[in-house]
């Protein structure tokens, strides 16, 4: 797709309104927080929400746009978090290859994040070359395999035997808030541009009927690998931001349940639209938060029940429901 005017116009489309509204809310919260007008609670919730939107959108590129459900997505998220910690503690240590960065935690964050994203892309392209030849359930199962391999390697080497990899830096929650916001803006822009571009049309064709797409001239294999790689890079970005926020990673950073979170958010939101995963992640976050606050032990039972209800009552998710009931709202979903 030729960029330029068409792309600029794309951001004035109705499909981008929800993102603009959300970003505005997050910016207002950030500004109030920065100037000390509100405490840390609301910004904390906002950061959680940004995190959920971020990981849901990263998954959406491959799952919602291209129709490939990956249980291995948490691996890329984990690679992002792990690489940041590794960059902090090894590469940028006093004796590391990047020792000139030592003591500059924000520079390390940027370098570590980029390294993590690069590593995730490398892994995605390598693994994708094999597993993206599979379809449907076979692809999904193969990606579970990826998760188990990485979990095992991680338990052997990554945390060096301890349960927790810690990064030491001065914590400024206000700055972390704006780092999250920057991550979210980047994620939303990338997802949106993909959605409205020729690439996005190609992915949609693959999701709807891969054989027909190929015969119509879509280079299905290349598009799938590219989507997988971009999705991986975005997941790594959120892994990195997340480990920065919690100053390190736990072994559960690679847990399969995080992939399930991402999948569930996309399912609740509905596949195939730009705003579906965003709506899905907000609903999911509200449910998780509410159950954690008011029914702690029952949280995942309630979430599980809701997932079952969603899938059986409106399998096409919230976006699908809106599309079929209120067709004029279709433009707002994209």
């Amino acid at each position: 797709m030729a960029p330029g005017k068409g792309l600029m116009l794309a951001f004035t489309r109705k499909g981008f309104y929800l993102s603009l509204a959300l970003l505005a809310v997050f910016i207002v919260i950030g500004v109030l927080f920065w100037y000390g007008r509100i405490g840390a609670n609301i910004p904390g919730y906002a950061m959680d929400a940004m995190y959920y939107i971020g990981i849901a959108l990263s998954m959406a590129i491959i799952m919602s746009y291209a129709g490939y459900v990956s249980f291995g997505h948490v691996v890329f998220y984990g690679v992002g978090g792990w690489t940041l910690v590794y960059t902090f503690n090894r590469l940028a240590s006093e004796s590391g290859v990047l020792s000139f960065l030592h003591g500059h935690s924000y520079a390390i964050l940027v370098v570590g994040t980029l390294l993590g994203m690069a590593l995730a892309v490398l892994l995605a392209v390598t693994v994708g070359a094999a597993v993206l030849r599979l379809r449907g359930a076979f692809f999904a199962i193969a990606t579970i395999g990826l998760d188990y391999v990485i979990l095992y390697l991680e338990s052997l080497y990554a945390t060096g035997g301890s349960d927790y990899m810690y990064i030491g830096y001065e914590r400024f929650l206000e700055k972390t808030y704006f780092l999250y916001l920057a991550g979210l803006i980047l994620t939303v822009l990338i997802a949106y541009i993909i959605r409205v571009s020729k690439f996005g049309y190609g992915l949609a064709a693959i999701r709807e009927d891969e054989d027909a797409a190929e015969v119509l001239g879509v280079n299905t294999y290349r598009y799938k690998v590219q989507a997988f790689a971009i999705a991986a890079a975005m997941a790594a970005l959120w892994g990195s931001l997340s480990s920065w926020r919690t100053s390190g990673i736990f072994p559960d950073f690679f847990s399969l349940s995080k992939s399930v979170d991402m999948i569930v958010m996309n399912v609740i939101g509905g596949l195939g639209t730009f705003n579906g995963p965003i709506i899905g992640s907000l609903i999911y976050y509200v449910i998780i938060k509410a159950t954690q606050l008011y029914a702690k032990d029952l949280a995942y039972i309630i979430v599980g029940a809701i997932v079952i209800i969603v899938v059986s009552v409106f399998p096409e998710g919230v976006a699908g429901l809106i599309k079929s009931k209120y067709r004029q709202l279709r433009e707002y979903l994209i």
Partner: protein, 256 residues
């Protein structure tokens, strides 16, 4: 002097022990409509799948405008200018009719340079051409079968192909729909000047539309020639047309 746009040479395709295509050769001239007929299981759709790169033949070559395209990936072949419709329609159900057609335009031979706006324009004019303009914003899965067939055709036409492969576009349509579709195919030939190969069981249609006909039977090419020649060929009558009287009727209708 007519130019050969497509030539298949000695194509053999096996599925396990089944010989789906047995050393089949034929050609298509530019601007021509070639009918591909034969009983069910004769290998017609298999031949389309070989031409479009979905299947790799065990033997033989496919040449498009003199270029050997055997073994190329389907998307590369589509980008060279060969488009097809499917016997069992394959709409992108969740996308609108317009989006379906735009995808055709975006990934066709002009895929390198075409903009989204141009693709939309092409798609809209093609939808007008096939009579689906008023359904443009409708999700494709809500179309009826006749409309889905038209969408298949629209998506292929939006690619602006030089060669169009039509796999039973008339099947499943009622007589008035068949008449409409035949009219539409004539329009494709006369206005868009696109070369076509059509697989068809609706005999009066193919006898009327086709300049030449190729007959397959159990993977073998048993006859080729003008509709008259084919309809009066004893082997074709025995294998496929069945009733010699019927076959003659087609020819009579043709001469009228």
């Amino acid at each position: 002097m007519a130019r050969e746009i497509l030539k298949v040479e000695n194509i053999t395709k096996r599925f396990g022990g089944l010989l789906a295509l047995d050393h089949v050769s034929f050609y298509v001239n530019e601007g021509e409509i070639l009918g591909l007929i034969g009983p069910n299981g004769a290998g017609k759709t298999t031949m389309f799948n070989v031409i479009t790169g979905v299947y790799k033949p065990e033997e033989g070559r496919v040449y498009f405008k003199g270029r050997d395209i055997t073994g190329m990936k389907p998307h590369s072949i589509a980008r060279l200018g060969i488009s097809r419709t499917h016997q069992i329609v394959k709409p992108f159900g969740d996308l609108t009719v317009l989006e379906n057609t735009m995808i055709g335009a975006l990934f066709g031979p002009r895929h390198d340079t075409i903009t989204e706006d141009e693709a939309r324009e092409i798609a809209l004019s093609v939808l007008e051409f096939v009579g689906l303009r008023d359904k443009a914003e409708m999700p494709a899965r809500l179309l009826n079968i006749q409309e889905k067939k038209r969408l298949e055709l629209a998506r292929a036409l939006a690619q602006e192909p030089e060669l169009l492969l039509l796999d039973e576009v008339l099947a499943g349509l009622n007589p008035s729909e068949v008449a409409k579709m035949i009219k539409l195919l004539r329009k494709v030939r006369d206005e868009k000047k696109i070369t076509m190969i059509m697989i068809e069981h609706v005999m009066h249609a193919v006898m009327n539309l086709a300049d030449r006909i190729v007959v397959l039977h159990f993977g073998r090419l048993i006859a080729q020639g003008t509709p008259e020649e084919v309809a009066t060929n004893p082997e074709v009558v025995a294998a496929y047309l069945g009733d010699p009287e019927m076959a003659l009727k087609f020819v009579k209708r043709l001469r009228r």
